[in-house]
Every structure is written in C-alpha cells, then in structure tokens.
C-alpha cells in the first residue's frame, strides 16, 4: 500500500486549517517582524517533557527567533553544552504550521477537527459554563486535570494546579500515567525516585545499565558515560536489544524480555555464596537483620515479644506513628533487641543468619528468621547461576556461557567500587517491573554501594520529583485538589473487580466517574489512548467535556471541545527545576506571544474567575483577586476592562508581572532554595540547589548513610508521615509484609515471567496468537510526541514511521526491509516500514512512540497497549509515589506484511 501525501491530508484534515482561519500562519507571524537591525541573544531554558531543562540562547532578530543554540553557561563546565537536536530545531514548532492562533470551539464531531475561531471571552465563557455544569451535576472531583511534568514549569503548570485546588478537581499524576514511576523506590527506599546528577557518573568505576538507552533518551548527559570510561570505569549494558548505549558499553548482555530480576537474583546468589557482601552496611542500613515470623510471614514486632513488651510500650510513645518497632537477634547480648527506627546509629550486633524461637506475650512460641536468611534461602534454592541461565538466555544461545557470565559479572560488580546501577524504563515498564527494581537494589545494598559518590542506583525515565515544597503557589489558600489514577479511569473492569475491592486501601476514585478532561502540555489522545479507550470515551459522550490548552494543534486538541492557545517556552517567564541536574533556572521571553496566544497563568486565572462566578462558594468569590500572587495585578486588569483600556497586550504585561511574582513566592522559603533569588537567577542563569552533600552534589541518601538519618528522605510535596510508613523500620526494606505482598508471593523480590499475569490470564489463546512483545521505545527525534511534526526531525526519518524486528522474525513472516507492515493484537493496530535489526531480540517488535495519529493513517499505537493494574500498587496511595503505574511494555502482539 502506497500512501500519498494527499491521503495524509485526507486522514488528518485539520479543521482549524480547513475552516479558513489558519491557512496563512506565517503571514500573520511575519507582521510580528519588527525592531532594530541588532541581533539579540536571550538566555532561556528548553523545557519539553524530557525534563532536560537545557539552557539555550535564542538569537532574536527583528522580533523573531532566528535560531537556538545551547547557552553553555552552567557553572560546572563539564555540563556545557546541555541540549540536543530537538531543542535546536524548536523554531520549527514555534513558527510551524500547527501553531494555534486563536481560541477554538468545536463545531464538528469529536476528533474530526472542525472548529470555529472565537474570541477569548467567548471560549472561556463557553468552557466555564460546561465545567460549572459538570461540577454541579457530578461534583468537582469529576473533572480530571493533567499537566504532565511539573518541574518544567513551576509557575504556569502551578497555576493549573492552583485552579484545581480551588474547586477540588481531580489531578492525574503524570508520573504514573506515563508509567515512569519505578514502584520499587517507594517499596524499598520509601521515596518517589532518586538519581545521581549525571556529573556523578564519572565517579563510578563500574556502571551497570539495565534497560536504559541513555545515549538516545538522555542526550545532554550521555557524554558522562564516555568520560567515566575515559577515567577507567567499565560500562555494561543489560538489555534484550542492542542500542547505541550498548554500542558504547564495554559489554552488551542480551537477555530474554523482562527477565532482569532473575539475572539480578543470580548475581545476588553469587555475592552471598562467595561472601562478597558488606556485612556492616547491611546490618546498619537495611532490614536484613530484622526478624520475620515464619507462622504469619509478618515482621516480628517488639510489643509481640514477651520479654520486650514493656520496653516496646514505652518506646512506642517516643516514635512517630508512621514508625514501628522491629526486632533483631543481638549476638553480643545473646537475645532479642528492639531496633530504633528513628536513627541508623547501630548499638547492636545482629545475627544475619539462622533460625530463632521467640516467646510471644500470649506464651506462644514462634520461629523467626532474619530477612538476610530468607534472601539467602531464596537465591540458593531458586536463583543459582544455572537456574537463572535457563530463564534469561535468549533462544539459540549457549546457556553454559551465560552461567559463567553471571558468576563473572557478579564478581566484577561486587568488587569494583563505586558501582552505579542505572535501571531504565525499558526494563521497569512491565507488569513486574517493581520486582526487578527491588532485585537490583539488593545488589547495591549488599555491596554497600549507596549514598556515596558514584555509588548507587538511579532511574532516569520521567522526572516528576518536585524539588521543594511549592504549596505557597500551587495551592490556593491551602486548599487541596483531589487525585484520580489514570489506570483506574481507563480500566473500569478492574475498578469493579473483586481484586480491587479486596486490596484497595486508600486509592480514591471520583464517585460519579470522570466526566470532564482538562489538559495542557500534553497529547493524551496519542500518548495515553490505551486500548483506544480515551477516544472511545470521547466518542460515546461518556466524557462530557474536553478542554485542551496547548501552543500547537495536536492530535489531542483535535478531540477537544474547546482549545485555548497557550504559548511556547521563549514567550513567557517561567521557573524550571527538573531533576537530572540540580539547577534552578528561569525561562525568559525572547519574543512576544504569537497571534492571540496567551501565557497559561492568565488562561487559568480567567477560567478561575469565570468559574467562581458560576459556583456557589462565597469565600472563593471574595478571594478571587488573590488568584494572581498579587491581588493588585488582578484588580488592575479588571479595572482596565471596566474603563475600556483593556487589551491583549496589557493582559500579557500583567501576566508577565504575575509570573515573576509567583516565581519570587516560590523561592527562598526552603533550605534547598535559601539565598536563591529571582535576581540571582536572572544574573547567573543556573543556580545550584543547596543539597546536603559535599559540593551540593546530588548524591541520593547522603544524609542517611553519613548522618545516620532514618529512611526515607522526604519526597515533596508529600509529607514525611505519608511516605515514611512505606519503610516503617527507617531502613532500606527488602521484605514487604503487607497482605497483598504475602498473597502474591512478593514479600521478597522474585522473578515472574511477563504476560502470565496479564495477557495470558485475560486470554489464554494470546500465548500462541501473539508471540511478540510490543515495545514502544523513545525516538531520537522526539520528546515523546513533541516534535512529531518538526519538519527537520521528520526529514531525518524520511518522513515515515518504522517497525524494527530481528531478521529472523522478518524471514518467518516474509517481510523484507522497507515493507509496510502492521503490528496488531486483539485491541488495535499500527503500521510502519520494516527495519531489520540484528540487535533486536527475536521475540520483540519495536515501534517508536510519539508519532501523531496523522502520520499513522489515523491509527494510534497505544490501541495495542492495555491499562493493567498490579494489586501491590494499591497497598497505599500517595499520588505519583505509591500508585498504580502504566506498564507499556506488557503488551503482546503479532506482525504481518500489509
């Protein structure tokens, strides 16, 4: 099948363009060309959802950005220049044909893309009417809001949350919506996520990358792998597929899909058998010495023990309610001892191995074992190198060779310090991804590689951590938004299942379901259209109102009822602080907003104002001028409206002032931002956060290891009370005792095969029908779906999507290079051109996520994926920290020639 450009146009038929309001974008843009003959450089930061937040210089000439290049002005010269091909060609989006010009109201069917251009007032009134109606009918929590990565825009994304907090809308946490939350972090360390800044990579002597294609997904940081190697580090890459990162590594170890936990446990087997572990470290910082009752699989509590009861009752009063008192067998004392959960100073010499009998308060005697003993038994029985090789060795490869390799790698990892493990999303975005993270953490914990320069475990997919508490701006007068989990919204069957009812303890869901969807900085109708459910909900009308805010017309704006044109970075003041590098930076406007586009802070302020008028809350009505951080700004604009002097230009000026005020409001209030001021940011460009570690370096768990503070460090914005209960012992926990972990056999990290608990459980036939794993990896040419329409990026891909497969797969299916093929399963399909790649595992089919539907003949690659929910992710609920998270790779498919 040969698709011409005309077919493309027919399939996508962007209504905004065809209704005659937008065909001449650049003519209007050209009217913006003005000013002197001077070339001006403006420093700002690029900020799509890669969260690189790279500093750029915009070259401005006559009021337009002519080019963009990295500013290369970070105080640590090693970081220069941060930035990549997408940021460099961002002008193609700012001035591109998809740029939105005016507010739009839908006139055709949803998804058809027919809109009429209207005034801001008309669009906002219309949207406010609809939203208020839904709030009244179903409750405000029936409105779901998604803003994606908050760190890329504390001011404007913050304004959206501020609006949600006013009325109690439900916020969708992007971290779990995107499947970027590596759930092992909260389970093991009690944190949302932690990682080294990339400058720390060069302090490692051994870097083991498990399923993270850093060379493509972390472009500005990738060089630190090269520098680490130059400084003598060994780099290994464990991945089912060969990647550019594997090409740079000293060694590529190919394993079967989703078997990393088995490999990690095989390595743990060798480390324990050869006694290569750091005994002092695990006794001091982990739950390895804590005793577990063999009768009920729960940890032994001090107040259950007859001899410890009195002391325990007394101590219980001294510790916070989120802690608990656990017990070790103290060798020095020759008896049981209570462990202080509030400090990691060790005043006991615990037994790591053995079995003990303890008398409980009711006189019953039960057997107990230290966690280490249980881990040892587990890996000795189930994860010998020979058994692991049976699991991980790809077809037609030598299992004996893999057995030797496991022994050798284990020895290398245990003895070459500091060791850094990078745990990537290709690895953890599987149903049992959390088990792999827990197993890999065992390696760094056993070898004492945590909290030291170059020693640790990091995840780099999705950077959702908030750097410091932001409630002063994000929450309107202390009001709080509600939360809704994306997977639960998409998966009604699961919501109604017995499993959900049995295990859900605190995960909320709006009583009357989600009825309106508000999103910005976001393209969910491509990126989150799992099993086509989002589009179906929009089509059926189940979703009663859809509001999109963006600077471009995307697939998703096409599905909206109202589209409000926001601005691109380079057109506004914004505060950024993302987490791969520890800098706080400002975005500053290089140009005025194009057309009638408006800064988002203004859009949300206007919406708030109009909603208050339609909502019965006298308190909010009286306070609305405070939506802007300074009520005088709000009042100035309202007065201008009354006296007729209001203009878009004035509104923009006021919005700029408000953005700067909001920035100031968020700075300097917390130890991390002490002495970081707006002035300094504007003068110095990038300012490092005051992180408590030498040279303010981002070394996770420094305080725990060196200052003996209990785990976890806080994960903002959640309170410590919310997250510390994940690790009640104040230690790194490998043993999970909540019922759901016991019921599913996951008290300790184990290996579980992919698809058995998902695809094959739902449809046993899938095992024969869909033998391939559908992996939707990140592309070099996009940041998720941003830059999908970037003409320069399209050119580098010959304007067409591809499907990668092993030459053997192609041979079996009669596919030749360049053939148009269809990847499909019972839920959906996507087409692309075949690329034969000897580095791809024979049971894997790869598609690169982020292509807009219009480049895919209207299809959506996420029609194949499914919103699986893993029950252990329901044990607690803290948004974006402990919550069900998407598992893109848990998707079985087949491929055929078209």
């Amino acid at each position: 099948m040969n698709v011409t450009r005309r077919d493309f146009v027919k399939l996508c038929a962007f209504g905004a363009i065809s209704t005659g309001i937008a065909s001449r974008y650049f003519r209007v843009a050209s009217s913006k060309s003005s000013g002197s003959d001077e070339i001006k450089l403006v420093r700002s930061t690029c900020s799509p959802n890669c969260t690189g937040a790279c500093a750029y210089h915009a070259m401005v000439y006559k009021g337009r950005i002519t080019s963009l290049i990295q500013a290369a002005d970070y105080p640590e010269p090693e970081y220069n220049p941060r930035g990549c091909l997408k940021g460099q060609s961002m002008v193609n989006l700012i001035y591109g044909p998809d740029r939105l010009k005016k507010p739009l109201i839908r006139v055709g069917e949803r998804g058809e893309g027919k809109f009429k251009a209207v005034s801001w007032d008309e669009a906002l009134d219309y949207a406010a009417d609809k939203l208020a109606e839904i709030m009244k009918k179903y409750g405000p929590e029936s409105i779901a809001l998604s803003i994606q990565v908050p760190g890329t825009g504390y001011v404007h994304k913050g304004a959206a949350i501020r609006l949600a907090s006013m009325f109690g809308w439900s916020v969708l946490h992007g971290y779990t919506m995107n499947g970027d939350l590596p759930a092992f972090w909260s389970q093991t360390f009690g944190v949302q996520t932690e990682e080294f800044e990339s400058l720390e990579w060069i302090n490692s002597k051994y870097i083991a990358i498990f399923g993270s294609n850093l060379l493509v997904t972390r472009l500005p940081d990738a060089k630190f792998l090269s520098i680490a190697k130059e400084k003598g580090a060994k780099v290994i890459m464990v991945d089912m597929n060969f990647t550019p990162t594997a090409a740079k590594a000293d060694e590529w170890i190919q394993i079967n899909p989703s078997t990393d936990a088995a490999l990690a446990l095989g390595i743990v087997n060798v480390i324990i058998e050869q006694k290569l572990y750091d005994e002092d470290f695990i006794k001091t910082y982990t739950d390895m010495p804590l005793l577990v009752r063999l009768d009920n699989n729960k940890r032994l509590r001090a107040y259950e023990v007859k001899d410890l009861k009195d002391e325990a009752e007394r101590l219980k009063k001294e510790i916070p309610e989120y802690r608990d008192l656990f017990v070790v067998y103290d060798i020095n004392k020759g008896g049981f001892k209570i462990v202080n959960p509030e400090s990691l100073e060790r005043d006991f010499e615990p037994a790591l191995e053995g079995e003990f009998e303890v008398e409980l308060i009711d006189g019953k005697r039960v057997k107990v074992k230290p966690v280490f003993q249980l881990v040892k038994e587990l890996v000795t029985e189930d994860y010998t190198p020979e058994k692991v090789a049976e699991i991980i060795t790809p077809p037609e490869r030598d299992k004996t060779e893999y057995t030797h390799m496991i022994r050798r790698i284990a020895w290398e990892m245990a003895t070459t310090k500091p060791l850094h493990i990078v745990y990537g999303a290709s690895n953890y975005q599987w149903f049992h991804g959390d088990l792999k993270g827990r197993a890999l953490s065992l390696i760094v914990a056993l070898t004492g590689n945590i909290g030291k320069p170059g020693a640790g475990i990091s995840t780099y997919a999705g950077q959702f951590k908030i750097r410091w508490p932001l409630g002063m701006w994000w929450l309107f007068k202390g009001r709080k938004p509600n939360w809704v989990t994306y997977l639960l919204w998409m998966n009604r069957e699961y919501r109604q299942s017995e499993e959900f009812k049995k295990y859900n303890r605190e995960t909320p869901y709006p009583e009357n379901d989600v009825k309106a969807f508000v999103f910005g900085w976001n393209n969910p109708f491509d990126q989150h259209n799992m099993a086509n459910r989002l589009k179906e909900m929009a089509k059926s009308g189940e979703l009663e109102f859809i509001l999109a805010i963006d600077f471009q017309a995307t697939t998703s704006t096409k599905w909206a009822d109202v589209v409000l044109p926001g601005v691109a970075w380079y057109e506004k003041w914004e505060l950024t602080a993302t987490i791969l590098h520890p800098y706080v930076q400002m975005q500053q406007p290089a140009i005025e907003p194009l057309f009638e586009c408006m800064q988002e802070i203004w859009i949300f302020k206007e919406l708030a104002k109009k909603l208050v008028e339609r909502w019965n809350d006298e308190e909010l009505k009286a306070q609305i001028a405070d939506f802007y951080p300074d009520s005088a700004l709000f009042i100035r604009e309202e007065e201008a409206r009354k006296n007729g002097s209001w203009s878009l230009k004035l509104a923009r000026e006021i919005a700029d002032e408000a953005s700067l005020k909001a920035t100031e409001l968020m700075l300097g209030k917390h130890d991390l931002t002490k002495e970081i001021t707006l002035d300094r940011l504007l003068k110095e460009g990038a300012v490092r956060l005051n992180i408590n570690a030498p040279k303010n370096r981002q070394i996770p768990f420094w305080e725990q290891i060196h200052e003996k503070k209990p785990f976890p460090p806080p994960s903002f914005p959640a309170s410590l009370a919310k997250t510390a209960r994940f690790v009640k012992s104040g230690r790194i926990e490998f043993y999970k005792e909540e019922d759901v972990f016991i019921d599913f056999g996951e008290t300790l990290p184990v290996h579980k095969e992919p698809f058995i608990d998902t695809e094959y459980r739902v449809n046993p036939e899938a095992k024969n029908k869909y033998r391939y794993a559908f992996i939707t990896r990140n592309a070099l040419y996009r940041v998720h779906s941003t830059h999908s329409n970037n003409i320069t990026m399209l050119e580098l891909q010959d304007f067409r999507p591809r499907v990668w497969m092993n030459p053997k797969t192609a041979q079996e299916k009669g596919i030749k290079p360049g053939d148009l093929v269809e990847v499909y399963n019972d839920r959906g399909k996507v087409k692309g051109y075949a690329v034969l790649d000897p580095g791809i595992h024979p049971s894997v089919i790869i598609f690169e996520q982020g292509w807009w539907s219009r480049y895919l003949r209207g299809d959506s690659y996420n029609t194949l994926t499914y919103p699986w929910v893993k029950a252990v992710h329901l044990a607690y609920f803290v948004p974006g920290i402990w919550e069900p998270t998407t598992v893109w790779n848990e998707c079985a498919c087949d491929v055929r020639k078209v």
Binding site: R5, R64, Q88, S89, P244, E251, W252, P838
Partner: protein, 249 residues
C-alpha cells in the same frame, strides 16, 4: 598565521545528529539540504548495528566539509568561486558561483549541495511531505537561520540566509561566527563534547595538543587531499571479561 581545523572524537560522538541539525538551522538550510551528516558506519539505517551477535557494532561518523589543504573542489572551480582562505577555510562565493557543479563531482566526501531551485520551493515540498496543507508556505514567510549576510574582508559573499538558485553551498566552519571569534555551531552545539576546533598552527592550542597526544586519522587520507578535519578512532573495548579494577579491591 591562523589555520583552522577540527577534531571529532568518535568515542565521544553519541550519534545524536545535533551537529547536523544545529548546522542546518543556524545556516538556514532548507529541507533537502544538509551541510553535515551523521551516519552509522556500514549500516543503511542510522542507529541499526552491523555484524552478527555477539560482535555487533555501531560506530557513528559525522561528516562536515573537511576544509582540505589540497582541496580538489578549489582546483576544479573554473571561476574561482571556491577558494581557500588564508586561515584555511574553504569557502564558496555565492556571487561568483556559476553552478557548473564540477566541485560536487570533485569532492570525495560528498559534502557539497546544489540549489536546484529556490529554497522556498524546498520548504514547500518539505512541508508537503510532512503532511501539511499545500499552500501554507509562501514567499517571504518565516525561515530559520542566521539573519545577516556575511562577507569576507575582501567583500566576497560567503553567507546569505536565502541562497540564490543555482549556486553550490557547503559547510563553512560557520565563517560568520569564526570571523567574530566564535566557534562553529556544531562545536558549540555538540552535547557529547566530541569536537575541538582551533588553530592547527598554534602549538599551544587545544587542537594541536590533542593531535600530539592522541592517534588521529583523516578520511580518505590516501587521496592526498590533506583534510583539516581529524578523527579520533573509537577505543578498543575491554570486551567480555575485561575489567579495570581501581586501586582498592
């Protein structure tokens, strides 16, 4: 006398093509024109390995103009439009180029590009292939690129944002920046820090020092073109079983 050259360290190159893109945007190359390319050696597809398991390899090779000391393109130009400046930059004078394209045939590195049509046409066609409506791009619309013309001291036009139809163009080592004392865009825009640009005649320059310390090669050296772009080859890998232990075990 200054003599500019460049080193590209293939160990540091991550194949991301940022150099090619920033070059394209800064130097206003329309769709279809690339002054610089980055390919995976031996492979038809970028970032697809060659070889068979376990010996797969992906080596990325960026190819800008080599600014040859003994440049074949200069030798064949019948009108002196292509010449080598005293500082070693091989440039094209857009006002003198007659579009005969002898230089394109003569260049063994394939880095020269010809303007078959008005660049606006390239934009139109590029956007058409990208699936946009046909008529959205019109003459005089926004185009990226360094905004001002650049002439050498003797008045020759070596950079202009909208190239005239019928001229040859190629990498200039960003002459418009070099003449202001600023490094070429590909050097400033490389997130891998793979490139070093500087004066080959100054023994104290970073580029000279690096060339003294490290083995470097040039492309098609046997042709005697004397390129001023040097490559540091990828280091041998430790491979299976190799590990460099630190002092402490």
């Amino acid at each position: 006398m200054v003599r500019y050259g460049m080193i590209i360290d293939l160990n540091r190159c991550i194949g991301c093509r940022s150099c090619a893109v920033v070059c394209k945007i800064v130097n206003s190359q329309p769709p279809g024109t690339w002054w610089q390319r980055v390919e995976t050696v031996g492979s038809n597809e970028h970032m697809v390995p060659v070889g068979e398991y376990p010996n797969l390899s992906e080596v990325f090779l960026p190819i800008p103009c080599m600014h040859c000391e003994n440049a074949p393109c200069v030798d064949v130009c019948p009108v002196g439009a292509t010449w080598q400046r005293e500082d070693g930059l091989v440039l094209v004078d857009f006002e003198r180029c007659i579009g005969c394209r002898y230089c394109i045939t003569a260049c063994p590195y394939g880095v020269r590009q010809f303007n078959w049509q008005d660049p606006d046409e390239n934009f139109k066609q590029g956007f058409e292939r990208s699936g946009f409506e046909e008529n959205w791009f019109a003459e005089g619309d926004y185009k990226y690129g360094y905004p001002k013309d650049h002439r050498t001291d003797d008045g020759r036009l070596v950079y202009t944002k909208t190239r005239p139809r019928g001229v040859v163009e190629k990498c200039t080592f960003c002459v418009q920046f070099v003449d202001q004392g600023i490094a070429p865009a590909c050097v400033r825009g490389c997130p891998g820090n793979a490139r070093i640009f500087g004066d080959l005649d100054d023994p104290g320059s970073e580029i000279s020092k690096t060339l003294k310390d490290r083995a470097a090669f040039r492309l098609l050296e046997e042709l005697g073109t004397e390129p001023k772009v040097f490559y540091i080859p990828p280091a041998r890998k430790e491979g299976r079983g190799g590990v460099r232990y630190g002092e402490k075990i």
